[in-house]
């Protein structure tokens, strides 16, 4: 792992071409994906701390802790499914339009390698969250049974300047590191699906750019959400 990282990040074309000579192996990509999932879970747990005060006041401390654990578990599986399986599936399907060959398992393996920059970005976002989260002023909920009160509290959180700023910065970092992952995926998909470089760029950039635009749009214009994973 120590030796392959520089090669993966700086010379992905060479890295993936060498991997193609070896049998398909999901062990290291799986470890990478799980590491990313753990970082996402940690980030989600930290974010849930914002809501902890709300639910502690309204439903007790046990409920608040349960919410944090539920958020962490959800983020864990969401990272693995969305960032690894779904992106691999999209790349696999899109590459079929360019007569791509190669197994889905190989695509899954190379996409897993390409998650390393996204994980680095997640770590940076989690670190930045330590700076912003204490500044977020969480409104107090009066009655958790009242949907209007819950909505008022959620709006209050989203309108909080610190929360908005954290969301936007997190989205920008996510986009920057996603572009790096996209660069790795271009070479990965090219080798995994035996595509031309042009076709590999198309296959990778279409979903990545759509996802990136959506993320930035939601962070800066639409309803903000907690990014960083």
């Amino acid at each position: 792992m120590k030796g392959i990282l520089p090669s993966l990040l700086l010379r992905p074309d060479t890295f993936f071409s060498e991997r193609m000579k070896e049998p398909e192996n999901l062990k290291i990509p799986g470890i990478i994906a799980i590491a990313g999932a753990v970082i996402a879970a940690a980030g989600s747990y930290l974010i849930s701390g914002i809501y902890e005060g709300i639910f502690t006041a309204a439903a007790g401390e046990g409920m608040a802790s349960l919410l944090g654990i539920f958020g962490a578990v959800s983020a864990f599986f969401a990272f693995i499914i969305i960032w690894w399986v779904v992106f691999s599936g999209i790349f696999y399907l899109l590459s079929m339009a360019f007569n791509g060959t190669g197994t889905f398992r190989r695509t899954l393996e190379f996409v897993g390698y390409g998650l390393v920059p996204v994980i680095i970005g997640s770590v940076i976002s989690v670190i930045i969250s330590f700076y912003y989260l204490p500044m977020i002023e969480v409104p107090v909920i009066t009655n958790i049974q009242d949907p209007a009160a819950v909505q008022r509290v959620m709006s209050g959180i989203f309108e909080d300047p610190a929360f908005r700023e954290f969301t936007q910065i997190s989205a920008v970092i996510s986009a920057i590191f996603l572009s790096w992952s996209a660069n790795l995926w271009i070479f990965g998909v090219r080798h995994a699906r035996v595509l031309s470089l042009r076709n590999a760029i198309i296959v990778v950039l279409i979903p990545v750019i759509i996802f990136m635009i959506y993320t930035l749009y939601m962070a800066f214009i639409g309803s903000p959400f907690a990014g960083g994973s």
């Binding site: 700086l10 010379r11 992905p12 006041a57 500044m135 009066t142 700023e165 590191f177």
Partner: protein, 381 residues
């Protein structure tokens, strides 16, 4: 001789037969002297105007012989005698007593009257006896000894009164009770019983008014068999007591923090009475939230103070009401509301963190490193 003896005996017998008739004749003449009035009972002792009463007259035969009475009656030009006369002939034996009862009605103005009792004897003579009847209209006197200066809705206050009998005769079945709209008296009534002349009875009771009204203190009593009432009206006016506790708020600081307003301050009892169970909470314009929806101060002596803290939410208003609930020594609840100006919520969020230089640096460095890595990966592929 025998003939003369027989004649003497016959004469004696004749005399004996004739003599008692003469004696009886003499008794009839002296009957008025033998019969005297031994007692007069008047109930009630003193009449109200319009009262009905009973006069009982007892006569006694002080002579050695029975006296036949033909008629007993009572009459007066002012006092009405309701009952009938005794028109049946009867006899009062020697040394015996006999009572005659008459029902009268005093439909006369206050004063002293003398209806006459008349006893007519069968054989000769009569007896006249005037009976004194007094008519006075003095009712029982109700005096309010102590009462609060002002009343408050829902607050229980004590009232002390005395009920006195200024008449010269006792009155009976004296009951005190209270009338008034939205007034809850306790006890609801008070039974005194008999009040003798110049006697007074002290009574204490509590009322809990619901609204300003008039409280009627009613004393029902009986003069003989005649029911009477005395009423005193006490106005129940609402207002602030001169001595009542006055919790005053001071040193108030309002901050918006952690998504809620936190109001701290001191509450001082500026009144002359103790304020018990002092509880502070946010009222109109505010929605209390944890952790200090309400703050219990407890008891505050006059001139004593305590700090408090309450937390609340507030939307679209610049002023909220702080409610101080407290109770007096008797547990009567009172409420005092103090308006407090709160700072706009936006001012609390003005301290927007702003993107720090280090974060901008991290983003730029990350972008530069990633750009370089991408450029390198394409160049050295």
């Amino acid at each position: 001789m025998e003939k003369s003896n027989i004649a003497v005996i016959s004469a004696l017998i004749t005399c004996c037969l004739l003599f008692p008739v003469v004696a009886a004749q003499e008794t009839g003449d002296g009957a008025a002297a033998q019969i005297t009035v031994s007692g007069v009972d008047i109930n009630p002792g003193i009449f109200f105007e319009g009262d009905t009463g009973i006069i009982t007259i007892e006569v006694v035969n002080n002579g050695p012989e029975s006296v036949a009475i033909r008629r007993a009656t009572m009459y007066d030009s002012d006092i009405s005698v309701i009952s009938s006369s005794y028109d049946t002939t009867t006899t009062v034996g020697a040394g015996n007593r006999m009572q005659f009862t008459f029902t009268v009605k005093a439909d006369v103005p206050p004063g002293i009257y003398y209806p006459s009792f008349s006893l007519d004897f069968r054989d000769a003579g009569y007896l006249r006896y005037p009976v004194q009847i007094r008519v006075e209209n003095d009712p029982l006197a109700i005096s309010v000894l102590d009462k609060p200066d002002t009343f408050s809705a829902g607050r229980k206050d004590r009232i002390d009164i005395t009920v006195g009998n200024p008449r010269d005769n006792p009155v009976g079945s004296v009951i005190v009770y209270f009338r008034g709209k939205s007034v809850e008296p306790a006890p609801s009534s008070y039974f005194i019983g008999t009040l003798n002349p110049d006697q007074a009875q002290k009574i204490s009771f509590n009322i809990t008014p619901g609204e300003p009204t008039n409280l009627d203190i009613v004393v029902d009593y009986k003069n003989g068999v005649n029911p009477h009432s005395a009423v005193t009206t006490l106005p129940v006016a609402f207002g602030e007591s001169k001595k009542q506790a006055e919790p005053i708020l001071s040193n108030i600081i309002v901050e918006y923090k952690d998504g809620k307003y936190t109001l701290t301050g001191d509450v001082t009892n500026a009144g002359l009475e103790v304020a018990n169970s002092v509880v502070l909470s946010a009222g109109d314009g505010a929605e209390p939230v944890n952790p200090y929806r309400e703050y219990v101060v407890g008891s505050l002596q006059p001139d004593d103070f305590a700090s408090f803290e309450i937390t609340f939410l507030s939307e679209n208003t610049a002023q909220v009401q702080v409610i101080v609930n407290y109770r007096d020594e008797d547990g009567n609840p009172s409420v005092r509301t103090t308006p407090v100006v709160i700072p706009p919520k936006t001012s609390a969020k003005e301290n927007s963190p702003g993107v720090s230089t280090s974060i901008i640096a991290v983003i730029l460095i990350s972008a530069a490193v990633i750009g370089g890595a991408i450029w390198y990966s394409w160049k050295k592929r």
